[in-house]
């Protein structure tokens, strides 16, 4: 009985005191955490939305073929905490060439979940994932 109470209390601590954590599809339903990739491309658009923001890159391969990549990333708050200044964030602007380290989408499309970005001037920023407790 004691153990059951302990379990229930522990559970109660998780469930009753706070808001329930972000509910959404699991990252693993969409991305393969063990398949890293690195892409360099030109920023075409940034969408600041929930549940995750998006960064779109246009990538040209050696033969000149253009591919459009979409990367999920955290919101502006997370970028700020990663160290990108307001100017830098606004500076993830269309036309900039950046390099992205990400994990690949499971369905084989040109998509990924961003781990870090390297800006044109060489500075690298590790982007945190969406933190359910972040403001």
């Amino acid at each position: 009985m004691k153990r059951a109470i302990g379990f229930l209390l522990g559970l109660a601590g998780l469930l009753t005191v706070g808001i329930p954590a972000s509910a959404h599809h699991s990252v693993q339903a969409e991305f393969d955490l063990n398949k890293p990739l690195t892409i360099t491309g030109v920023v075409t658009k940034v969408e600041w939305i929930n549940p995750h923001s998006y960064l779109y890159l246009e990538v040209k391969d050696d033969s000149g073929n253009v591919k459009h990549w979409a990367f999920e990333m955290a919101g502006p708050g997370a970028l700020r905490r990663a160290g990108l200044s307001r100017a830098d964030r606004g500076g993830l602007k269309a036309g900039d060439t950046i390099t992205v380290n990400a994990v690949a989408a499971k369905d084989g499309t040109d998509a990924g979940l961003i781990k870090d970005v390297t800006l044109p001037d060489g500075r690298k920023f590790t982007i945190w994932t969406s933190d359910p407790y972040a403001k």
């Binding site: 009985m1 153990r3 059951a4 379990f7 522990g10 559970l11």
Partner: protein, 507 residues
Amino acid sequence: MIRRLFCYTLIAGVLSVPCAHGQDAQAVIKTAEYALGMIRGPQRIDAVNTLEYWGTGSTYAFGQAYHPGSAWPEFKATYHASLSYGVPGMRVDVTRSNPDGPIQGGGGLPLAAPQRQIQVVSGRFAWNEPVPGAGFIAGSTAVPTPDAVNDRLLQLWMTPFGVLKMAAKAGAAAKVTTEAGATVITFPLSGAFEGISLKATLNAKNQVERVEARTNDPVLGDMFTETTYSDYKDLSEITTDVPFPSHIVQKQGGFPVLDLTITKADTNNPYVVFPVPDNVEKAPPSGVKVETQKVSDGVWYLTGGTHHSVAVEFKDYAVLVECPLNDDRALAVIDAVKKTIPNKPIRYVVNTHHHFDHLGGLRACAAEGATILTATGNKPYYEELWGRLPHTMKPDRLAKTPKKPVIEAVADKRVLSDGTQTLELYHLQGTSHADTMLIGYLPKAKVLIEADVYNPAPPNAPAGPVVKENVNLYEQIKRLNLDVQQITPLHGRLVTIADLKKAIGQN
């Protein structure tokens, strides 16, 4: 100098290694819980609460073997269980059908059609239902089975996750040992299960591979239930990292009662609930009730429960046909015989056959001092069981006041007669129910006594398919040239020979 240093170091090294029986049992239990994916979250709590799983294979009718000492008869089964460790509750939904091959033995064989049974336990209540949630569906009723609560809860606590939860709960009372190279956790249960210990054996991956329990059975006394779990896999559509055994085998009394291949499991705490229906909550606790009905001069039909008996009065003694189920029923029946036939000892007790539900009270009748009349095949079986198997968990009357039972074997026919009353006993041929079946015939009253081969439906029930056993009974009555007017079936109600003829389509 160096050598001394070396040997001191060696000794110190050896001494510093913790010895096996100093192992912290709770640490071993925790390791096993991790192996089953139970410990989750940064708080590392046991997050397994509800489970659901589906499988196919076989169930076996415990205690209903065709031949005494043989394996329990098999049914093909599709199996669906849903459980909650929190409630605690379990719903087992099984559909049985006849096995391939020869159909022999009790437990309902042969089934006229695939038969669905849903058995539920929830807290301190147990019931059967025709469909899941019957007590809360219009037109559907739950049937209370208060005696089944502990057995069903024990099944829950013998699952791999359940046994670890209970072991954790046992705290310091849990012990860890090594047997044949495997880690074994033993611990006592408490509350309603006081006196029962569980033993869990872990495989090389620290997964629970076997759970053993010792419980009391009226026939076998201290009986072992052993469940083995093997071939753990992730059987869930949504990956949870909770492995589930894909093969489950349970044995009771040394023979399988369950053999399943699990094809699917939901280990992501599925929505399963066990609301207790009103009629189950309000059901009175089961008690033993004996009703006495005079059938003819010197012949009484003792009913009031699920298994009936017949009392026959002779000049200087009484004869009781059937001492079923357990001590409680048997002692109540003996009491009823003494009240109905006062001042005459019960000299003989007839045991119709070896199926456990009919055998369970026979030890109490042996303790009464009566001579047991049973088919030839049963004599060595009963003598061996009663001589070898201890009844220490719940000592019955015979264990408390030991007597050497007197068993007389009936081969084909035995007649008890004293000029005022006659009881003829015959070994029933042609039945596939049990090869030790005796029927009784009272020529004066023209009454036939039989068990299990003709269980009359309630009066006014619609006619069902013809049952082979019923046909065989009628043929045997004809073959033995018995002039039968009434039948006292040991399941059901008092009927006439016309009822039997109607049941087999002969009018």
